[in-house]
């Protein structure tokens, strides 16, 4: 009996050691990003493996310099607006369509839903050239509308919400029907509030993927004043690639808002991305 206990103890410790090593590998790039951001360029490029922390004071002013010279205020504003409108549009259109596909009977349902599934199977790169040409013809390059454009509707969200609505019990709707609710009222007052968790998942999923998108903002918003954080970083790297502390300070500024939101709402984040990703 004693040997079994020792054995499980050894296994426990081994598992922790492996997990700690992996955690370390995951953390090092972040740590090095932050530490470099706080050094002078001279310090950053001094070749000494033990020179981990900034020796001559922590240069917090690097953040201020980067903030001003790269117009981070604009980058934040544009990213925020793009995420906001994409989330609102995705949730709104997907919940309506999801309800119809999940709950109602109507001619053409099978065909229309097959279009939704086809869209999900095709890689997004196929759509980019014509989408760009449309935005360009509308004169909407370098606008928030241009950034939001491909995310106005979502096939994936429709699919996700459809499964959400299908999982709800039938009798709720029937009871509401007896009480004299029409379909619009049933949807708005009874069914939609019950799919809140699917909507939150879709919202988080949409926000994270809009935030991470690089190619689309680079194409439609080429000005430093109109583009997003991701595309802004690409621009900066092209111009100032040898000022390492500034580059790392910019990277910190770009990832921090999402990281902080993630750490606060991590349960919703992980579940949201896992449930929606799991159904993709």
């Amino acid at each position: 009996m004693e040997s079994v206990r020792v054995k499980t103890r050894v296994t426990q410790v081994t598992i922790h050691v492996i997990l700690i090593i992996f955690s370390f590998i995951m953390i090092v790039p972040f740590a090095w990003m932050i530490l470099t951001a706080l050094k002078t360029n001279q310090e950053a490029i001094s070749v000494d493996p033990f020179y981990i922390f900034p020796a001559h004071g922590w240069h917090w002013e690097n953040f201020g310099t980067v903030w001003k010279s790269y117009n981070f205020l604009y980058l934040y504003r544009n990213t925020l607006l793009m995420i906001f409108f994409r989330v609102v549009c995705a949730c709104l259109t997907a919940t309506m369509a999801g309800y119809a596909f999940g709950r109602l009977r109507f001619p053409g349902k099978k065909f229309l839903f097959s279009l939704v599934l086809i869209q999900m199977m095709v890689p997004a790169q196929i759509f980019i050239i014509p989408q760009y040409l449309m935005v360009s013809k509308m004169g909407m390059l370098n606008t928030t509308f241009g950034l939001v454009f491909p995310g106005l509707v979502t096939a994936f969200g429709t699919y996700l919400l459809k499964t959400g609505y299908q999982g709800l019990p039938r009798d709720l709707e029937e009871a509401a029907g007896i009480d004299g609710c029409n379909i619009g009222q049933k949807f708005l007052l009874i069914m939609m509030p019950l799919t809140r968790s699917s909507m939150v998942s879709l919202g988080i999923f949409t926000a994270v993927f809009a935030f991470k998108d690089l190619m689309w903002p680079m194409i439609v918003c080429t000005n430093a004043e109109t583009t997003t954080l991701s595309a802004g970083l690409a621009k900066m790297q092209g111009q100032f690639s040898s000022d390492y502390p500034s580059m790392m300070a910019a990277a910190v500024l770009a990832v921090m808002p999402m990281v902080i939101i993630y750490i606060i709402f991590q349960k919703q984040f992980v579940e949201g991305i896992a449930t929606s990703g799991g159904k993709l």
Binding site: M26, I27, W32, A100, L233, V255, L280
Partner: protein, 295 residues
């Protein structure tokens, strides 16, 4: 066949069409018209902003298919997938099995592993590029080496693959954990009574019962890896000597369509990629029955 609908059915259909209208209209304008337009453009020589399309038949396809750079980009993309997909999946599976139990610090580990998932790949790539820096980078400093991690064509593709693995482990792990939670506990209890070791349980119970999740992750990761762009774009300078040996198909597509403004050629390349992905998907679907265990 056609039956007259009752008033209630008509009413239901009206509401349904009203509800699906925005999404369907959007999908047609944003996705289905673009598919047709991309196919059309792949047969055209395009001027700036898509004006002056001249029909040239299969000429774009001939150019793209006879260009060595296209084939190299496909090889590069497949090589990237060969690094990213298996490593990120195996490591994520091991971590998921470790974390799928009551233990100290479980939430902390999960938070850390998942962290890259909420970071913009543009920023992640910038940081890794700095770590890989040949003169001043952390890696060469720690190991006292002088390796050109991202400009030696022989190893640059591995270095990029490592960033890909690092970025996606947490995501795969979270999907594995939710898959693991669906395996009934009594299987393990029965195995315990029979005296099966942890490792034996892993191969005899976990692997087969988790195979639907695994198959799903493999499929989405393969398609994700075949359309990789951000890492190559952010890590590789245009002057990098290893660029030719690393650039992905989507990277090349971006170059053709948006840097050089040759939309026709870009459209053709992306059509070739689509066909390739559809073939891969079909093969995967065929193999599903063989590898996936449904009880």
């Amino acid at each position: 066949m056609k039956q007259k609908m009752t008033a209630a059915q008509k009413n239901e259909a009206m509401w349904a069409w009203l509800f699906v209208a925005p999404t369907m209209l959007g999908l047609i304008i944003l996705n289905f018209y673009p598919i047709i337009n991309t196919v059309y453009q792949s047969f055209c020589k395009t001027g700036d902003f898509g004006r002056g399309n001249v029909f040239i038949g299969l000429k774009n396809y001939a150019t793209v298919m006879s260009d060595g750079e296209t084939w190299q980009a496909f090889i590069n993309t497949i090589k990237y997938a060969i690094i990213e997909v298996p490593f990120s999946i195996v490591i994520a599976l091991v971590l998921a099995v470790f974390l799928n139990r009551k233990m100290h610090g479980r939430a902390v580990y999960r938070t850390i592993f998942f962290l890259p998932m909420v970071c913009a790949p543009a920023a992640v790539a910038m940081v890794w590029r700095w770590l890989y820096n040949q003169q001043f980078g952390l890696l060469n400093n720690i190991f006292h080496t002088n390796i050109a991690w991202i400009s030696d064509p022989k190893i640059a593709w591995i270095s990029i693959g490592v960033i890909g693995v690092w970025s996606i482990i947490g995501y795969n792990m979270v999907l594995f954990i939710s898959g693991l939670q669906e395996i009934p506990k009594d299987y393990y209890e029965a195995a315990e009574i029979d005296g099966a070791t942890g490792i034996r349980q892993f191969f005899a119970i976990t692997i087969p019962l988790l195979s639907p999740t695994t198959f799903f992750i493999v499929q989405t990761r393969i398609i994700g890896a075949l359309t990789v762009f951000d890492l190559m774009f952010m890590v590789m300078d245009k002057t990098n000597v290893a660029l030719r040996k690393v650039e992905s198909v989507v990277y090349l597509f971006y170059q053709y369509a948006f840097t050089n403004g040759d939309k026709g050629r870009g459209a053709t390349l992306v059509m070739v990629l689509l066909i390739f992905i559809l073939i891969v998907t079909a093969i995967l679907q065929k193999s599903e029955k063989k590898f996936v265990f449904y009880n």
